[in-house]
Amino acid sequence: MKHRSPLITLAAVVLAFAIMFTVNMLSSPPSSRSTGTAGPSAAATTAAAPEQTAPATPSASASETAEDSEFPEKVVYAGRTDDGPAAIAVAVLGNQAAAYVCDGRTVESWFRGTVEAGRLSLKSKSGETLQAELDGDHLKGTVQIKNETQKFEINEASKPAGLYRARSSKTTIGWIVLEDGSQVGVQTTGADSSAAPQLDPENPQVMVDGESLDAAAVNGDEDL
């Protein structure tokens, strides 16, 4: 070894990586921890969920039969986007549907639209689209998140899993409660988004800026 300074540079970069990782781990918000993604043991359980849906990637015949199927009168689907960290929930009531996609941090979108013969076509206020269709008893489709199209394949969610929303004059909060009880939510005030406070689906009240807000399950026919 003739020169030490490149090694020092290398060490400094490794150190910078370590510091950034530590800062990130220490500052994960409580709601993000509750999704089980912060701890290694809990991470294993959430990691298993997307894998379960992976082998179910439909064959051509499966999607052909899906064309004929109809949604139940009232149903909610929830899960995670394929290969991505975002959670997604879709609520269907009759021929109306609402959906919510969020990353538990800063990215969220509410979608509204209609249902036709087992197919959903939803739009957000900012023009992003969500397309999905029934495939057996699960819902598969694509959603635009921040200019990226993500695929998803999600299952029916039974209470307390589902989609929840709370609204005050200034703040809107959305939560997706997944089948395993973990939740992903984002709170938006004006243009600022952050992780949502923890929601108790049995007693859906949260405090925001000293104000108590009632959260309600989203059924699919609400004005969002």
Partner: protein
């Protein structure tokens, strides 16, 4: 980082007679291991979807794009000063080598928050071609960087080794920037 040796440490220096390929192979192997390690970590850990935001930007993505663009600009400084060091362009003076070294150090340090955000919050993803390419190049970049730093520690490597390593780092960063920032902007 204060004990910087003679300004020739980035230059081909006086090519010593009898260069060795062994250290290049070892450095390449270590760099490869770094790349694979990053990829495996990115694939196996559950992305949190959350990472610390950097104050002063409209969004996490904007912050990353800005930092990555600064790194990209510094990388161009790297290429230009490297050409000067090797005498390919008329860039002379005692400042060329230090500028090359410090712009490089700054570039890689600036890239770290971006890379950590990608790895920690998003992980190695493969949902479309751009994302696969970006994930692969991200792992590649830090392996190539490790390779280059290890090459730099020795004077007895063949003359082609350092330009190769530098070229790999620059190519990696360019590919990363193109598959992310360019995409973010257009």
């Amino acid at each position: 980082m204060t004990s910087i040796p003679a300004p020739a440490s980035d230059a081909p220096a006086a090519e010593p007679s009898g260069t060795k390929i062994g250290p290049v192979v070892i450095a390449f192997a270590i760099g490869t291991a770094v790349s694979i390690g990053l990829g495996v970590y990115g694939r196996l850990h559950t992305p949190t979807g959350y990472a610390v935001n950097i104050a002063g930007f409209s969004s996490g993505a904007a912050a990353k794009a800005a930092l990555a663009s600064v790194a990209m600009g510094l990388a161009i400084v790297q290429i230009v000063t490297a050409l000067g060091v090797y005498g390919r362009i008329p860039l002379r003076g005692g400042w060329v080598s230090p500028v090359h070294r410090w712009s490089g150090r700054l570039a890689v340090l600036i890239s770290v928050p971006v890379a950590v955000h990608c790895l920690y919050a998003l992980g190695f993803q493969a949902f479309d071609g751009r994302v696969i390419a970006h994930s692969l190049f991200g792992c590649f970049l830090y392996g190539a960087f490790t390779f280059k730093m290890l090459i730099l520690t020795r004077d007895d490597t063949p003359g082609w080794a350092l330009p190769l390593a530098g070229g790999l780092v620059f190519s990696g960063l360019t590919a990363l920037w193109s598959t992310a920032v360019l995409y973010f902007l257009v």
